[in-house]
Structure formats: structure tokens, C-alpha cells
């Protein structure tokens, strides 16, 4: 499906809790197959946090839904995802249910759709506990109170009897975090956990995620479009574009030494409060490609100021760059140095007149 072979992003270690290998996800549509994920591989060690960043439609959520077995039957999935050595891809719903919540838990963007409005939050947390543990209801309830306390909800012994509509958005999301950590999973996948929230509430939820990691020792995959959230929370980052990782490395490598023009452009397009005012941002003109009939070559080439003929012919694999764990999918990654600034490459006043049609969707 993809031209590029996937190298191992990290050396194999025995304490890997989540190993994703060459994962592909396609959806059949009337126009052809939408290749949403095209060969994603990563290895997550115990207690480690991986950030996956990308814009709408880059495949970052679909990757996680595939791992969790939450995609509809119309999706075709290839590749492998193992949690603590056990394969998840291809398992039926009943089989994978043993892993969900127990080994690998997920937190979604909108807490109102993750929680049912008709049960108290205490009952919903207890349900997660009782799904995997033989316990009395009293014990499950006590555990619920303990978890609510851990995620920073005040008066947990009273709040445990509240319904979701009685809580604010930030508190609801912390309840979802409490459910995710209820069974001490090995991996927690958080998909845009703070996107719908205000900035001060976002800080509360990020604190709760931190508490969840410390209390359970779980490894975490943090999926977000916000490079600021990633910078402070993760050990390693994967940048996704058109269904693949286009750069992957430690958070310092990716932020301070980007070797893929897309990453550099993303960093340059951010208005920042920590830098002098008055500088121009560097937009990346154009839009991501349609995932239905992806042309050969690098999917970023039509938007890339460095693109040459080779980029249009041949899709670059993830190649090692500055460090042993730093990979970039760019034929010309060695033209970028530590000192390349976004404005060296991208024109702040570039025209954005290319029409794309209606294949893109609202985020």
C-alpha cells in the first residue's frame, strides 16, 4: 500500500507495552479506497508518553481507533498492534473487550459523549472497575471515590453521586480520566483530551492526566493538534501527515532540530507568546492531499517549498537524521540544519489561491 518501508522507530526493548507495526487503515467509498493510515509504526515503553500531532484528516485519530478495535466493519485494517505482547488487530469484539480498559484505555475529546447522562458518575466508574474485577459494589464505589480524588475533583465522596450534567466540562473530562485509569491499564490513549476546553480548564485536565500517569505507571499516547500541549507533556513526538509519520523523535529533537519541512512550517505558523512581537508567521499554503487517489511521491510535495522532481516521483521513507531516535520522511532532510528558521523556507506572503474542491471536511 505504501511505497516506503517502515524502519523501527525505536530500538526493540523488552519493556515495550505498545508495539504498532506498519498499520494500514482503508475505507471503501464510492470514489475509491480512502487510505486514512498508511504504515504507522511506533513502540511505546512503560511509563513513556508519545505525542502524536497532526492537522485534521492526518489519520492521527483513526490510528488509535484501529488499535482499540473501535472502527466500523467497513474499515480494512492491516498490520499489527500488540499491547504487552498480545495482538489486538483482528480480534473480535468480545475478545478485545478483555483488553479495553484493563490493558489499554482511551480518553476521547468530548466527555459528554463518553459518559451516559442517565447514570451517576460513581456508577459509571464502578462499572469500569467491575467489568474486569470481581468486587463488591461497595468496594467499587470506594475505588470510584479514590479515583475522583486522584484526578482532582473536590468533595469526591459527594460528587460520586452526581450526574454528568451537574458537572462542568473540565470536571466531566476528569471523570473520563478517572474511568480510563480505573483498572491500572498499561497504556492510556488520550485523543484530543483538552481540545474542547478553555485554557485554564485545559491546565486542570493536563494535571489530571499527569496524576493518572503517576498513579498507574501507564504509558500514554497523547493525540493533539496543539504543539504547545505536546511540548510540555511528552517524551517523544510523531508528526503525522497524510496517514503517515513524517517526523518522529524525542520532543527536543522535533521542536529544536526539525528535519522535515512540514514540521518546520507548523512551528513557524504558530503565534507565540514567548517570542518578541512583530514577527511574521509562515503559513503553509494549500491543503493536505485527498486520501482517495494519492499521487506517487511525497504527499507534502505540493505544499513544500523545497520540493524537486524526485519528491513528486518517489515517496521518502522515514530516514534516520540527527540522532539515533530521530527520523524524518524527507529526501532532502540534510538540507535543514539546526539553524534553519521557518522564514528561510516558507514565504510569509505566499499566495493561497489553489482550489481544492470539496474533498476536505470540517475539523
Amino acid at each position: 500500500m505504501s511505497a516506503a518501508p517502515s524502519p523501527q522507530p525505536a530500538p526493540r526493548t523488552d519493556d515495550a507495552v505498545l508495539e504498532v507495526d506498519d498499520l494500514h487503515v482503508g475505507f471503501e467509498t464510492d470514489d475509491g479506497t480512502v487510505s486514512a493510515v498508511r504504515g504507522v509504526s511506533y513502540r511505546l515503553r512503560r511509563g513513556e508518553t508519545l505525542g502524536i500531532v497532526g492537522e485534521s484528516g492526518s489519520g492521527k485519530s483513526v490510528t488509535s481507533l484501529a488499535i482499540m478495535g473501535l472502527l466500523p466493519g467497513t474499515a480494512t485494517i492491516h498490520g499489527s498492534a500488540r499491547v504487552v505482547g498480545e495482538e489486538l488487530i483482528g480480534l473480535g469484539d468480545a475478545a478485545i473487550s478483555r483488553f479495553r480498559g484493563e490493558r489499554i484505555a482511551m480518553i476521547f475529546q468530548d466527555p459528554l459523549t463518553s459518559l451516559t447522562p442517565v447514570y451517576t458518575i460513581g456508577r459509571q466508574i464502578a462499572e469500569a472497575v467491575l467489568a474486569h474485577r470481581k468486587q463488591s459494589k461497595k468496594m467499587a464505589r470506594d475505588r470510584a471515590i479514590e479515583l475522583l480524588d486522584l484526578v482532582g475533583i473536590p468533595n469526591p465522596d459527594q460528587r460520586v453521586d452526581a450526574y454528568p450534567h451537574e458537572l462542568s466540562g473540565g470536571m466531566r473530562q476528569r471523570v473520563v480520566v478517572a474511568i480510563a485509569m480505573a483498572n491500572d491499564p498499561d497504556v492510556i490513549i488520550a485523543d484530543e483530551p483538552t481540545t474542547a476546553l478553555d485554557v485554564t480548564v485545559q491546565a486542570q485536565v493536563l494535571d489530571a492526566l499527569q496524576a493518572a500517569r503517576e498513579a498507574t505507571g501507564a504509558a500514554m499516547v497523547l493525540i493533539t493538534h496543539d504543539l504547545g500541549v505536546v511540548a510540555g507533556q511528552v517524551d517523544r513526538v510523531g508528526v503525522m501527515y497524510a496517514g503517515r509519520f513524517v517526523e518522529h523523535g524525542t520532543v527536543d529533537d522535533v521542536f529544536y532540530r526539525p528535519r522535515m519541512p512540514y514540521t518546520l512550517g507548523l512551528l513557524g505558523s504558530l503565534p507565540r507568546v514567548d517570542e518578541p512581537r512583530g514577527h511574521r508567521l509562515t503559513p503553509i499554503t494549500g491543503t493536505p492531499p485527498s486520501m482517495v487517489h494519492l499521487p506517487p511521491g511525497c504527499p507534502f510535495a505540493p505544499r513544500c517549498p523545497m520540493a524537486e522532481q524526485r519528491c513528486l516521483d518517489e515517496e521518502p521513507p522515514l530516514l534516520p537524521t540527527t540522532g539515533i531516535e530521530h527520523f524524518a520522511a524527507c529526501h532532502f532532510h540534510d538540507r535543514l540544519t539546526d539553524d534553519t528558521s521557518p522564514t528561510d523556507l516558507f514565504d510569509p506572503d505566499a499566495a493561497d489561491t489553489e482550489l481544492t474542491g470539496d474533498h476536505e471536511e470540517q475539523p
Partner: protein, 347 residues
């Protein structure tokens, strides 16, 4: 066009648009047969603002703080409960719809969602021509004006016969801006203009807004929850919390020496895309949530979440509980509505 000087701070002289003591209460109705009024949402309480010619005023705050309502009051799109809005010296709130119409040419708005704010059945040409037709300026060179506007916002004139769905989110927002500029306004209210866009697209629209302002000498009112966007685009900022302005000043004053504990918490919570700074910095995490605007706390509205209030002695706390702090300068160089205001540098 390519490089922009750091904007000058507050200018002297007459403001082009000003609001004094704006109040907006929305009625809350009961669920019974008669839907009797059972209370009022205090959406905007005693807000005063000024926008000078060629300047950008930013209104920042979290959801429900009243920033969008304030923007709509400034444009006289919804009736005020009390207070006044002056545009070029003329009082707007008492004007009828008919009297308001000629003034609308000068006061335009760009909405957040370019997917919802453009009629999908109209061509781009007709979308941009619509304000000209309504205001009666189309016959006189309207076709050329539309082509000119398309090019002004960085689109091609020949795209006029296309429909909105053929454009990307960023391009659609450019169409919305062209529409707002059609009548040559003096003030443009931008209500979360880039919040619905992906970051790489956001930057292009932000650059466009900067260019248009210097080319056309526009005044902007930028409403946003995103402090990074605010700091990038704005000359002066008003921070709102629960219907009130809690701090105001130039962008440098506010981000360099925030005096109100709420502003401090907001600034400290902005995630920085820089791993070293992000790991090293001190974050002020607020407890709890914004109180119900139907029944706001007595005295200072922020006291229920205020880290400073929690550290005060009981006698010191009394001022916060009993007395609503005025928005005045308490020695920090700019006004803040906190009895115990204290400047802090956080970025």
C-alpha cells in the same frame, strides 16, 4: 508589507468607537406553562472600552465571559440593557434599524465559522456583491469592486463564479473577510476569526488581517479565547471574566506585567511550543469553574477561584467579599480590577 513594526500603544485623540458602562442581561424563563421570567443572566456588566483609529483592541476571556455579547453590543446588533455606544461621536444604542443602516457600512463583522457563515448556494461573486447590492452601491462599478476585493484578500478574481464548497477553510475565511470589506468599513469586528482553522492555515489569515489593517487603515476589535493570537495581533487588550473587564492595558503591559490574578492564570496556562520553557515554567492552576452568571458571587466575581484570595487572611478577604473592586490603576501602570493587584511577569 512583509515586515510589520511593533504596533504603537494606545493613541491619543478621539476614539472611533467607544462603549461606556455597557450592561446586558438576558432573561431566564421558567419551565412552567407561562414561562415566567425567573432570573437574569448577567452577560455583560458595566463594560467600558475604546477603539482608536487604526488600532486593534483585543477582547479575551473564556467561554461564557461575555466577550462575544460585548462585540455584538458594540455593533448594536442586540439591544443594550443600559449603557452607550459611540461611533465617531454618534450615540448608537437609541437608533432605529433604519437609522442604523447607513452606519452599518462602517461597522462590519467577520464570524468564526467560515463553513456556516457563507450561503453554500450562492457563488462567491454574489456573496461578496450582496452587501453592495443591499447598500445600493453595486450598479456603480460593483463588478470591478468584487474582483478587486477578491484580489485584496489573496484570491483570484476568476474564482468569483465558484461556490464556497470548492474552497479550503482558510480561503472561505478570506471570502468572509472580503464580504465584510465590501462597503469600505472603518471598524471590523473579528469574532474568533481563526479558531475554526488548522494552525498552518491560521497563519495565512492572520498575516492577511495584518496587511489589510495597514493598507486600509482599519480599526479592529478582535474577540478571541486564544491568547497567543491576541498577543500577536492586538495593540490593547481587555480581559473579561464573568461579564466584567478585569484588566486592561497595552499588549506589552498585559503580557509583561499582568496584575490581576485571573490574567496571570490565563497567561501561565498558555501552552508554549517550546519543551524547555514549558517544563521549566511555573503554572498557576485555578481551582473549580466559572460560577453561574445568573447568580454571580458578591464582591469580586473571581474570588471563588482566586489563588490570591485563598492566600489572604480573613480580614483581608473581607474586601474581596464585600466590595466589587474597581477597574483602576493601583500602581502597576495599567488598570486591574483587584484589591490586591500585583504585577507579575509570566512569559
Amino acid at each position: 508589507m512583509s515586515s510589520r513594526a511593533v504596533p504603537t500603544p494606545a493613541r491619543d485623540g478621539e476614539p472611533i468607537l467607544s462603549a461606556s458602562h455597557l450592561v446586558k442581561h438576558f432573561p431566564v424563563h421558567g419551565k412552567g406553562l407561562f414561562r415566567r421570567q425567573v432570573g437574569e443572566v448577567h452577560a455583560v456588566c458595566d463594560v467600558s472600552l475604546e477603539v482608536h483609529p487604526g488600532e486593534t483592541l483585543g477582547i479575551v476571556g473564556e467561554s461564557g465571559c461575555g466577550k462575544s455579547t460585548t462585540a455584538r453590543l458594540l455593533l448594536n446588533l442586540i439591544p443594550v440593557t443600559s449603557g452607550e455606544v459611540h461611533f465617531e461621536g454618534r450615540e448608537l444604542t437609541a437608533l432605529s434599524r433604519k437609522q442604523m443602516r447607513p452606519i452599518r457600512r462602517d461597522l462590519q463583522i467577520v464570524f468564526q465559522d467560515p463553513f456556516a457563515s457563507l450561503d453554500s448556494r450562492m457563488t462567491v461573486f454574489n456573496l461578496i456583491a450582496e452587501p453592495l447590492k443591499i447598500q445600493g452601491g453595486f450598479k456603480d462599478g460593483g463588478r470591478n469592486r468584487v474582483r478587486e476585493l477578491l484580489e485584496l484578500v489573496g484570491l483570484k478574481a476568476e474564482h468569483g463564479n465558484r461556490y464556497p464548497h470548492e474552497f479550503s477553510g482558510g480561503q472561505r475565511q478570506r471570502i468572509g473577510i472580503a464580504r465584510a470589506l465590501a462597503l469600505d468599513p472603518k471598524v471590523l469586528v473579528l469574532d474568533e476569526p481563526v479558531s475554526a482553522l488548522d494552525v498552518s492555515i491560521q497563519a495565512g489569515v492572520i498575516n492577511l488581517l495584518e496587511d489589510l489593517q495597514s493598507e486600509l487603515d482599519l480599526s479592529y476589535v478582535l474577540v478571541s479565547h486564544d491568547l497567543s493570537v491576541i498577543r500577536h495581533l492586538v495593540d490593547r487588550v481587555a480581559v473579561m471574566y464573568l461579564g466584567r473587564v478585569v484588566e486592561t492595558g497595552t499588549t506589552d503591559q498585559l503580557f509583561g506585567s499582568a496584575a490581576h490574578p485571573y490574567t496571570q492564570a490565563l497567561i501561565s496556562a498558555i501552552p508554549l511550543p517550546d519543551p524547555h520553557k514549558e517544563r521549566a515554567r511555573e503554572r498557576i492552576t485555578l481551582q473549580g469553574d466559572v460560577p453561574n452568571p445568573i447568580d454571580p458571587p458578591s464582591g469580586c466575581r473571581f474570588r471563588t477561584r482566586c489563588p490570591k484570595f485563598m492566600a489572604l487572611s480573613e480580614t483581608e478577604q473581607r474586601a474581596c467579599i464585600e466590595e466589587d473592586p474597581e477597574l483602576i490603576d493601583r500602581g502597576q501602570g495599567h488598570p486591574a480590577a483587584c484589591h490586591y493587584a500585583e504585577a507579575r511577569q509570566l512569559v
